[in-house]
């Protein structure tokens, strides 16, 4: 459960890091787009799952 709450934040890091690497000239724009899209999908998937389990746990208390 705890891991499920922490992992989405790692995906936020994955969302912002490519743009910083692009600014530093270490990544191309198409690569940035791909990384940002994956980070977005994973962030929403895990955040929604996390919110679902949290509300379920709160309901069973």
């Amino acid at each position: 459960m705890k891991a499920l709450q922490i992992i989405p934040w790692l995906f936020l890091l994955m969302l912002i890091l490519p743009s910083l690497l692009f600014l530093a000239g270490r990544m191309t724009l198409p690569e940035v787009h791909t990384w940002m899209l994956w980070a977005t999908i994973l962030w929403f998937a895990l955040s929604i799952a996390s919110a679902y389990f949290r509300s379920k746990a709160a309901g069973s208390d």
């Binding site: 969302l15 198409p30 940002m36």
Partner: protein
Amino acid sequence: MELEESTSPSLEFEREPVPDKAQLGFKHFIGMYAGEHCAGTEFMLGPLFVAAGVSAFDFIFGLLLGNALAVLSWVFVTSPIATRARLTLYYQLEQICGKKLVTLYNLANGVMFCFLAGAMITVSATAVGVWVEFPMPGLTDIYPNSIGWVIAVLIVGSLIAVVAAYGYRMVAKFANIAAPWMVLVFIALGFIGLKQFIDTTGVTITSVGDLWDLATNHIWRGGEPLPGQVKFTFWHVTFFAWFTNLAMHLGMADLSVFRFARKTWHGIASAAGMYVGHFMAWISVSILYALQLHQTPGNTDVLPGPMAFKAAGLAGLLCVIIAGWTTANPTIYRAGLAFQAIVPKWPRFRVTLATGLLATIAGLFPAVAMQLLDFVALYGMLLMPMGAVIFADFWLSEKVGLQPEFARKTGISLNWAAGITWLLTLLLCVVLIRFAGIQIYFVSLPGWIFALFAFLGLSWWMQKNYSRKMILNKS
């Protein structure tokens, strides 16, 4: 601007002070403001500053000062009343002005919310243009310019309206999840735009001085505004940033939010919203628009969808859709509530749906979104006088020998002093704009001060006459 109510602490205690056990800590307000003020409107406002011919110094330092003034307004004007009275804006207004005036306030608020939601539907509809080719509206367009555009807005607007009517709470929850993601996409857009500017201009950045040179010579160059736009100076930016949320701070709408704050100083949490949304996000999106003008000088269209897609791919496009959607959703819902308060017999579902369709019709006309700087100033101006009335009633009435909360104490349904204050203040603002040549961005400050004294003066006259009438009736 903000994503109202989606993250509001609670809808409870609507007609009673918030009790101690329901009060919330500082951290809650930080998250709430940061999320709420990084919304769909930012995609329009950022570029419009560039279109207004703003210079780098005026933009950056104007935003720093204006946002600081906005935060101070929340801390020293809104929050002290909110944490003492602990009532919603509507209930407090009802105590002072009576039910009829609150109804009128609701109507004005509802209409403005409809237009704001319409602008957000416009923002979301620009995303459709990335997939389907049709002529998109230009910066100076007032009316819909193609069948494709009309269809795109009708589809997006109807979807938003139906969702707002059926599943408002679900979207509100989704908005909470999307908020941190959206903030980071805005930051990423800024970094990507900056790098593209560096590459396009061929400048080398080795110091802060180099970055400032890029900003002043290429990004925010100043000079003449684009056709149909007003030239923005330092003071325009300052006042605009200060008054973007005028209805919320000096207009007191956020009494409903800060009534949950444990301490008065929690008002400083608004800085998270101002410096994330109204500083960082505006800068980021304005860089993208400046880049578009730099690369294709003839292309002045402000189209958030294609702009964000070009910079951040599908993630950017999703950000435009979600930002527009999550801002329009609570706005339509709130407008629906405002209208329903006027005619309580109407079912909420139908009112929200009708409100959403009204917002969709507003969204068809790009003029609202393309002139969003003016619309935001108008929105604040229209509602600001009632904030001054609350301030005067709460802090000054007793000190000058007047009865505060006059409507509650006397049972009247319309406090004429407050109503005439509202009308006179708006009249003064219109006169200042039309005949004194003062632009709409600046009139709200003298207007607010005028409303303060006008309410006290008119209340003194009204209460004196009311006492005399009561004595005559008794005798």
